[in-house]
Amino acid sequence: MTSLDRSAAPTRLKYLVALVPLLCGLAGAVIANIPVSLLGGLVPPPLLALVPVYFWCLVRPDLMTPAATLVIGFCEDLLSGGPPGVWTLSFVLTYVLVARQRDSFASLSGAAAVLGFAAAASVTCACAYFLIAALYWHLPLLAPILSELAVTVLFYVPAAMLVGAIHHRIVGPLRSDI
């Protein structure tokens, strides 16, 4: 019995740790969508939730599953106040692209890694733009979505460092057999 308890506790811990990427994505969506702006609304908030999706889709696709991406995208939709489903579908389509081209994206490092994320974020923003255009039946201005893309890419480096630290400290050691 004692040995059973000992083995059950780490398993539960492993399952909790497996939720960390999802929780990071949800936290990113919440933080980015707090409707308080330090810059008075001059700059749109970054898509912080995309960073965990991109990062763990490359590093641990078994933890950042399509379903987790769907939940994160839905949270982004719910909190951002826009038409429902736009960011959800954009995130999922980006996930598809990154998952398909994982070899190419995962081999990037340094500035090229930032460019890789920029490409993924471009896909997300382009999807959202065309979905909005289809829903409202006219093309919105490009400048706001481009500024959102720029801010997201700008925030990628610090956000990726944070996500990387979380991965190495929490997720990484337990990655063998979850």
């Binding site: 707090i34 409707p35 702006s37 908030p45 719910l78 579908l89 990655r175």
Partner: protein, 339 residues
């Protein structure tokens, strides 16, 4: 890592992806068909987050005020002179308004006219603002408990800035006039031909200047024309000041002014006059035939003599620390929260 890659690359792993994509598409379609479910969820979240938003707002506002004070300290003297001048001008306008109000009251008494319905207001604080690429909204700390209702106009010190589109128990979401989804019927009072009001639709496009659409082709708008709500459709009361017409900058159509961003200026100061554009300010208290107001706003320098009918209206950009919901015969005053 290799194990994980194998998991993701198995053919069966593609099945959830297809299902997830289908679910996402269903979400988009469901949101288009009936967004009420999502709106309720949003309002519950916002109501739940309201105390945190209010707590987060204070330090952000403090930092903004402190940063603003650093730059303003060098121009206090000029500001003081300008404010004194403006104060003197406003006092003259106030006298004009009192004279005109007395005259209107007298005419109404002579004609036994039915008085205009009283507009009640709820004062509320802006506790958050979302400026997303496809969305210009803000959150007020007044909800159903304060008799705020969807459709009510939201005003700050400069005029109407949006309308409520979602109300929770304690908070409301406001769709700004600059939002992509905002469309309201407006009335444009010509500054040249007094008494001729033009009906139009003001549509937001996520820029600081909403566009005036559906303007009759035979009408010529002039920079400086006053834009007010027309009240058509019965959703909004008529006559709420919105802004002034500025010439469209595209294709040599003139320049457009920019209202101050949120959180700056306390919501009471008008935006600076744009280069070649029109000045935003309160509408003249009288239409044609009234006493000439002192210190009339001169036609803006650089405005085109005959701009095309399609023009933009300044305003609609939220800047207020406080806003109030208004509606003819609507909610009663419940509480007053100063900025």
């Amino acid at each position: 890592m290799a194990n994980a890659w194998k998991i993701a690359r198995k053919s069966s792993a593609q099945l959830p992806l297809v299902i997830v994509i289908a679910l996402a598409v269903v979400l988009v379609l469901l949101g288009k068909a009936n967004s009420g479910i999502f709106d309720q969820a949003r309002m519950r979240i916002t109501d739940w987050m309201a105390p945190a938003l209010e707590a987060a707002r204070s330090p952000v506002q403090g930092v903004g005020r402190w940063m603003g004070s650093i730059t303003e300290i060098f121009s206090v003297y000029e500001h003081n002179l300008r404010l004194k001048e403006e104060n003197a001008r406003l006092r003259q306008w106030r006298n004009v308004a009192i004279v005109l109000q007395n005259r209107v009251d007298r005419y109404q008494a002579l004609l036994h006219a039915v008085p205009d319905p009283k507009m009640n207001a709820v004062l509320a604080r802006v506790i958050g603002r979302a400026s997303r690429p496809f969305l210009q909204t803000m959150v007020l700390d007044a909800g159903k408990d304060d008799n705020a209702r969807p459709g009510q106009a939201v005003m700050d010190a400069r005029g109407m800035i949006g309308r409520i589109y979602l109300t929770g128990e304690r908070t409301s979401w406001v769709i700004l006039l600059t939002d992509l989804n905002s469309r309201i019927p407006v009335s444009i009072a010509s500054s040249v031909n007094r008494g001729n009001a033009v009906q139009a639709i003001m549509t937001g496009d996520n820029t600081a200047m909403p566009t005036l659409a559906m303007v009759p082709g035979t009408v010529t708008l002039h920079a400086g024309d006053q834009v007010t709500s027309s009240g058509d459709g019965g959703l909004l009361p008529a006559g709420l000041p919105i802004g002034t017409v500025v010439a469209d900058g595209a294709g040599g159509r003139g320049a457009a002014g920019r209202a101050p961003p949120a959180g700056r200026g306390g919501g009471a100061l008008p935006s600076p006059p744009p280069a070649g554009g029109a000045r935003r300010g309160p509408p003249p208290p009288g239409g044609g035939g009234g006493p000439k107001p002192p210190g009339p706003a001169a036609p803006p320098a650089g405005a085109r003599r005959h701009p095309p009918p399609r023009a933009r209206a300044s305003g609609g950009q939220a800047c207020g620390q406080a806003a109030c919901a208004r509606r003819a015969g609507g909610c009663g005053r419940r509480r007053g929260v100063g900025p």
